[in-house]
Amino acid sequence: MNHVLEVKNVCKFFQLGKTKMFGEQILLKAVNDVSFKLYEGETLGIIGESGCGKSTLGRCIVNLYNTTSGQIFYNEPKGEINLTQASERVRQYHRRNIQIIFQDPFASLNPRINIFETIAEPLIVNGFRKEEINQRVAEIIEEVGLRKEHLRRFPHSFSGGQRQRIGIARALVVGPKIVICDEAVSALDVSVQAQIINLLKKLQEKNKFTYIFISHDMSVINHICDRIAVMYAGKIVEIGEKKDVLKYPKHPYTEALIGAIPKLTNRKNKIKRKSLAGEPPDLTSNMGGCYLFDRCSYKSSECKEMLNELLNTEISNHKSSCIKRNEVELTGL
């Protein structure tokens, strides 16, 4: 299969305030040497704890952040374009192809502009003509299940689910190839969440979108994704086909995530969720070896020396950074 995007050794470090003593800077390593390929038409799920760098990675890909180092290639039939090194004009042009849907349907819409203008804005920025703008907005609004009468109204008069539809319409109206859904359903009530998940799936089938679906909810990821990448402390620690990752996890962190999934069949005092002890590491410290070390129950002294690279496992297209990936028996779903 063809890949449409390649992320190569991408790092994004944030500079925090200067330390008082020597004017030395504190760097927060939000995304730390991440590489993967995204294949045409697939949905890649990115899962991990709060603060592990999922949104930062998404923002680097859509160019809302400049990367600290590394490259992002967008693959067109004509050839690969290095988005991290292209001129601002080229980047602007390709921004059309990669769109993002944000988590918070309340915060991500401007309360002072009406829905028509909200959805049309990306078209205006990209220099579309008036007739085409009108036509595209009319089409997309129907696709996401809103009505023409809604266009003149303002965000505050919509429910959370409707606002999320507006956010989706806005991201899709320019006709992107790749859509990054950053916790696109996390803020919604379960009944509305189901509507939006089904809508995203339907739109993908119709328009052949490629999705990156960011979430910390494994059940949602399981419903919508083909492949899963597991992030921990700024790094991808495991990546593979959804079924393989869930059934045969190859990294202790993935095992912990799977064990912690809330299930309707769990019962107080009977069947319990497992929890991972401890806290994620401080991203401003200089860490060596495996980042999960303090919390891992399979650790041994070699783990302090490992290099945090993704390594092949016995399953094809399934990689893990755990040096014991082929020794320890991990429990999946």
Binding site: D189, Q193, A194, N222, K268
Partner: protein, 329 residues
């Protein structure tokens, strides 16, 4: 459903909000009870009245714009049954944190950024036990902080809320809530802002504390899977009314009300990823809308026209453990 052992009993509670845009009937006659040492899960979608119920119990409803129209909240102190709604501020203060205490959804907004965690945690203790000297206060604080799983309580005590991760802040919030050994702990979506691994830790901690300290707990959430994990009994709310209540086994394994059934179908389940999700049709009506009959009528798949949209359904009991409010048999 009256029970001699009930610690807390809410009877026919009605709360209205008088807003510029109109009248919101936030609670339309809510009744339930909490037994000794039990965990009651209150579940419902956004706007169903979960937080208003919690705020009513604690006497922290903003009045105005709200008005308690009707009802009783009976609390059994061990000596007498008090109607909390009749207490003045002074008497409420004696109960708050010591008898009944709360953990809020967003730990960041419930701590003041200006004071250290320690100052804020010790405040309730100082209010309630005026005879305690500083050393006793500090010892109790350190003890409570380590009870909630904070590794270096002395260091933690001096620091400020923004210096911590969401999980650590939520632990601090729990410490503040349990420091006076309350008999009832209300947890209003305490893990909604956290991710699954931390959520599992916090749920485990809460249940363990409830056992150790002999507390009863009201656990509010919109997540049925979380409730099935921690509760003994469930109350399902929709638009300011209770539609179904019963033991976890009854409500989750044998739901009766069409709303509970629809809610269960709409959850993405890890075990069934291939099935298409079934959303509840339509959306929650605006809180300003007034209509007769069952609140769930407009979205119900089993509605009977001419009955459900005209008459208010009444509560029916399936067994001692399970009741629902619906016209259907």
């Amino acid at each position: 459903m009256k029970n001699k052992l009930d610690l807390l009993e809410i009877i026919d509670l009605e709360v209205n909000f008088h807003l510029d845009e109109g009248l919101v009937k936030a609670l339309k006659g809510v009744s339930f009870s909490l037994g000794t040492n039990e965990t009651l899960g209150v579940i419902g979608e956004s706007g169903s009245g979960k937080s208003v119920t919690a705020q009513s119990i604690l006497g922290i409803l903003p009045q105005p714009p709200s008005i308690i129209r009707k009802g009783e909240i009976l609390y059994d102190t061990g000596k007498e049954r008090l109607n909390l709604l009749e207490l003045d501020e002074e008497s409420y203060r004696k109960i708050k944190w010591k008898d009944i205490s709360i953990i809020f959804q967003e730990p960041m907004s419930s701590f003041s950024p200006l004071h250290s965690i320690g100052d804020q945690i010790s405040e309730a203790l100082i209010t309630h036990y005026q005879g305690m000297d500083i050393k006793e206060v500090l010892d109790k604080c350190y003890e409570t902080l380590s009870k909630v799983g904070i590794p270096q309580p002395k260091k933690f005590f001096e620091r400020y809320p923004h210096e911590f991760s969401g999980g650590m802040r939520q632990r601090a919030m729990i410490a503040m809530a349990i420091i006076c050994n309350p008999r009832i702990l209300i947890a209003d979506e305490p893990t909604t802002a956290l991710d699954v691994t931390i959520e599992a830790q916090i749920l485990e901690l809460l249940d363990q504390l409830r056992n150790e300290l002999n507390m009863s707990m009201i656990y509010i959430t919109h997540d049925l899977t979380v409730v099935s994990d921690i509760a003994d009994r469930i109350v399902v709310m929709y638009l300011g009314t209770i539609v179904e209540t019963g033991s976890v086994e009854e409500v989750i394994d044998h739901p009766v009300h069409p709303y509970t059934k629809a809610l269960l179908r709409s959850i993405p389940r890890i075990e069934h990823s291939e099935e298409e999700l079934q959303p509840i049709s339509g959306s929650i009506p605006s809180p300003f809308e007034v209509f007769p009959g069952c609140p769930f009528y407009s979205r119900c798949e089993e509605r009977i026209e001419g009955l459900c949209n005209i008459e208010n359904p009444v509560a029916k009991s399936l067994n001692k453990d399970h009741s629902y409010v619906c016209h259907l048999k």
